[in-house]
């Protein structure tokens, strides 16, 4: 006779959890198994490299010795980029601080998580896309502005062909950045969205 789940409750109720060793204090516990925690952890790691990048960008003109005429343009753009970064970093910071919603019903909790993660991914994407033009302009200033290259003076005599080449180069960089960003987000964050989507599909209402 096959085990009947209906008659299984005796065995089920006999489990008191003797094998579980409980912590003596909450401080002994460590968390890391929830999608949001993983995402927060990943984003925090990326945040440090982003901050390092921002600091380095601020001292590049001095380090690389670019033409003085370009300082104003460079730092005006740098200030603008700081504003953009500040806005996004504040948004991410509030994401880290958010209260969890584990007391909702499973479906509500999963929807909260799902849209929260989707929103953060989209925000992350727009952040990366916004930084792309900045990095192109900064690179251009740093390359053309190097005192020893004298390329900056040559810019006055730039031909249409050179312009076209620059345009193609910039467009290619933007496409590559977009592709890499999408791959990165899909690889590191998309799996969490898919996991939650699968569970939500399981909970879908059926006509009864």
């Amino acid at each position: 006779m096959v085990m009947n789940i209906e008659n299984f409750k005796d065995a089920w109720n006999s489990q008191a959890g003797e094998n579980i060793i409980l912590p003596k204090t909450i401080n002994q516990l460590k968390a890391a198994g929830q999608p949001l925690d993983k995402i927060k952890k990943n984003m925090k790691h990326e945040l440090f490299s982003q901050l390092l990048g921002i600091i380095l960008l601020g001292i590049f003109p001095q380090l690389l010795k670019i033409t003085k005429e370009l300082y104003l343009l460079y730092y005006a753009l740098y200030a603008l980029m700081l504003l953009v970064c500040g806005y996004y970093l504040v948004k991410f910071f509030f994401f880290f601080k958010q209260v969890d919603a584990t007391v909702l019903s499973s479906k509500e909790n999963l929807y909260e998580l799902y849209y929260e993660i989707r929103l953060k991914i989209e925000m992350y994407k727009s952040f990366a896309y916004l930084l792309a033009p900045f990095s192109i302009i900064f690179s251009a200033i740093l390359i053309f502005g190097l005192e020893k290259n004298k390329l900056f003076e040559k810019l006055r005599n730039i031909t249409n062909m050179d312009m076209l080449l620059c345009f193609v180069l910039f467009a290619t960089i933007i496409v590559v950045v977009t592709l890499i960003t999408n791959w990165w987000l899909n690889h590191f964050y998309g799996k969490y969205v898919r996991q939650i989507r699968n569970i939500l599909d399981e909970l879908r209402e059926e006509n009864v």
Partner: protein
């Protein structure tokens, strides 16, 4: 400070009284001892974070079901980073299950079979075995009572088929 410490002690003593719930959920959702340990820590931590939302209108056990299942449903196993559809657990050879008492055997075969269920199906079976009504199961999961009944019946059939396939008889 003292208030927090008192609250923490009160919380941990409630967890100790209900550790059976923790044990069962962890065993249903993970098959690896390390994962099980991670999940139990994660659940206790989330319970503690949400402890302020616990209202005496519901029993501690009912509140614990809700939070624990929500954590278990989205828990990411350390041993298997592949979390896309079709979660694979390390196989336990049924021949290795020591022939203990009748109840122990039943439990071993049950937990082995449960690993083949989907996350929501595990929650349905757990709540059913804990004696929750269809209405209450629906409330926990956020689905209607009718859907809870249909999904539960289907899951029970699926589970029995798995147990049968695994060759358990008594």
């Amino acid at each position: 400070m003292d208030f927090v410490k008192t609250q923490e002690n009160e919380f941990l003593s409630l967890i100790a009284q209900h550790k059976g719930i923790l044990y069962k959920i962890c065993k249903m959702y993970t098959n690896d001892p390390e994962d099980r340990n991670d999940l139990s820590q994660e659940i206790i931590l989330q319970l503690w974070k949400s402890y302020g939302t616990f209202k005496a209108q519901s029993t501690f056990a009912t509140w614990m079901y809700r939070v624990s299942l929500n954590v278990a449903l989205t828990f990411l196993k350390r041993s298997s980073r592949k979390i896309d559809d079709g979660i694979l657990f390390p196989e336990t050879d049924l021949a290795d299950i020591a022939s203990g008492s009748h109840k122990e055997d039943q439990l071993e075969y049950f937990y082995k079979a449960v690993q083949e269920l989907l996350p929501v199906e595990k929650a349905l079976i757990f709540l059913f075995l804990e004696g929750e009504t269809h209405h209450s199961i629906g409330q926990h999961l956020g689905i209607s009572e009718g859907n809870a009944r249909v999904k539960l019946n289907r899951t029970k059939e699926k589970l029995q088929l798995i147990i049968k396939k695994n060759g358990y008889e008594y």
